[in-house]
Symmetry: C2
């Protein structure tokens, strides 16, 4: 068999080897089903516990109170960009607040504008998306239908360290790229959504955590597939869900609980991992220049530049030859991006930090 | 390892063993990628040929002309129920024609009504969805924005043998449960959609074949994820597609081409398979009573009743003990349903037919 490499891909991203091995073992016959997990009814006795387990694991990891529902939907975060304003903005006569800290937030605003009025209550665009706002910089509307932000911007590598304070306005959040990567207080949120393909599974499923009072606001007449209440009332099985993707989420979240030891440990491990990279940047005498302002650095997607583009290309090429793949920065930002989501082992970050020091010495 | 059974599940349904075995072999390291197919970027050099192959295989199998696009979307047929009228009915001032032959068609109409005016041009409801209409029974609107029908109704086991003739009105079709199961002329259609989880892959991806003139009609301002033109312009990668599900579609369609020998062979094989079951019904002296009118019988989902519900329960139980699973009819129809999609081997249908004869003899 070919070798697995250290996979710094921004998403779809690496998965825990233990989860992949279990999926591989059971791919032809899921225990008790007489068929692959891909081949059985979503309403079968074999599949329903799988969905339940994915839901229970997330609930346990985040200590989610009983007035929230955990849903599994399709269409990724991009469908959520529309589904949220369709459910909570359209026809309300209110506007929605958006905090803009990067490329994904900009896409969320673009879709919301199609459904109703929005206010961009802070934008990092002119500064090149290098930081998140201070609380005092937010021009909040106390009557907004909701306030939306993006916890972690994958392209720029900028991450909120704590939630913005929005009073009684429902706080809505795209947590696609740092969901289940660190501890946080779910009760501060009205709705959290996360495409699975960074930290918790493969592409093709999005996890949504939604508070009951939001479900009560869902208007009549929405397309059934975009109606949060219908999804909640049907336990994410209004139609056939993306069963295999949910199965992998169940395996990955089991790994987070049993192998890593719960979210406190996940959090500490991810901080340790990111520190290797940021230390390599900070100890390079300016050879590596981080994109994000230090107090807004992402634990998931460190981004940095080298002295010039030729050296960046050389860095990516030589890293790949050393079994570290996926390090090229997003075309809109350039430079280097190391996506170090949950499944990236500590050793991968250590190896990259060592490579960085070595590369700077040779090419400085 | 546990045994694989003959899987008569209505969907998600069986997959070809060869496809599952290849997926299992490569699950940890996709050749040339250094990682699982689930772990690599959808824009990577390893994944793009996979999507291309799924598209090319479908194009080859159906001999699709170059004025059509093949797309891979999310949300299943249920999302298409809304996406179609959002793209082609809303705001047109026209109404859409729907031919109603079963439970899925009814759901399609329900969603369309949220977006604009619809006309049900024929309904099989009062007859208990036992047949499809004759051409002469259709009350068509020559000015309709489109005419929608469901080629095969999985719950009732009723299938169109040929397309309805709708003149210049765009013909739109839910082919979820018989897509790539038989030969047909794509050029009669303006739009075909099919959830993968019956004949071509796992749940979580829907294939759409759409004619260029329909793409030209897509209005501005739709949610990006529901805009066919945007999907076509971005080769199904406006956002991260459901990569693993598309990969399995590529493997299943490769199997249809290489192992079965193309769509003519698939068609003949599925007719042979269905004949075993229908012969067992017709040769039972009325012990088994088929639900569908004979000239509307489904090649995919034969449905039938036994003399009483106790015998039906016994049939399902004893069949399961004989390694034939998933035969219970849908709760709304009752009785028995044998879903015999592409991946069901001929031997599975033979075995079921023999079991049926034996069961009737013992319990007649």
């Amino acid at each position: 068999m070919e070798q697995r490499v250290f996979n710094f891909s921004a998403g779809p991203a690496g998965l825990p080897l233990a989860a992949l091995q279990e999926a591989q073992r059971d791919l032809l016959v899921y225990p008790g089903a007489g068929a692959s997990i891909m081949e059985i009814s979503h309403r079968s006795k074999a599949f329903e516990p799988v969905l339940q387990s994915a839901r229970d694991n997330i609930t346990q990891l985040l200590n989610i109170p009983s007035n929230y529902k955990v849903l599994f939907l399709q269409g990724g975060a991009s469908m959520q960009f529309s589904q949220i304003p369709m459910n909570f903005l359209r026809g309300t006569g209110k506007s929605a607040d958006y905090i803009l800290t990067g490329a994904w937030g900009a896409k969320a605003i673009k879709e919301a504008k199609k459904e109703g009025a929005t206010r961009t209550v802070w934008s990092g665009k002119e500064e090149g998306y290098k930081r998140v706002p201070a609380q005092s910089e937010l021009d909040l509307d106390a009557n907004a239908s909701y306030c939306h932000f993006t916890t972690n911007e994958t392209i720029e590598g900028v991450q909120f360290q704590t939630e913005p304070e929005v009073g009684t306005v429902p706080l809505v959040c795209d947590m696609s790229s740092d969901f289940l990567s660190r501890t946080f207080d779910v009760t501060k949120y009205a709705l959290i959504y996360a495409g699975a393909q960074k930290n918790i599974g493969p592409a093709g499923v999005v996890a949504v955590i939604i508070r009951d009072d939001m479900l009560a606001k869902v208007p009549d007449g929405l397309p059934s597939m975009l109606d949060y209440k219908l999804a909640a009332d049907n336990d994410s099985m209004y139609n056939t869900p993306p069963c295999f993707a949910i199965y992998i989420v169940a395996l990955v979240t089991k790994w987070l609980i049993n192998d890593i030891g719960g979210l406190d440990k996940v959090d500490a491990r991810n901080r340790e991992k990111a520190k290797y990279i940021y230390d390599a940047i900070d100890n390079s005498d300016g050879y590596y220049r981080g994109h994000a302002q230090k107090d807004c650095r992402s634990l998931m997607n460190p981004t940095w530049r080298l002295p010039n583009e030729e050296l960046e290309a050389k860095f990516v090429k030589e890293a790949k030859a050393a079994s570290m793949d996926g390090l090229k920065g997003h075309r809109s930002v350039g430079g280097i991006r190391a996506s170090i989501y949950n499944a990236m082992p500590v050793d991968g970050c250590k190896a990259l930090a060592e490579f960085m020091a070595e590369f700077a010495k040779k090419n400085g």
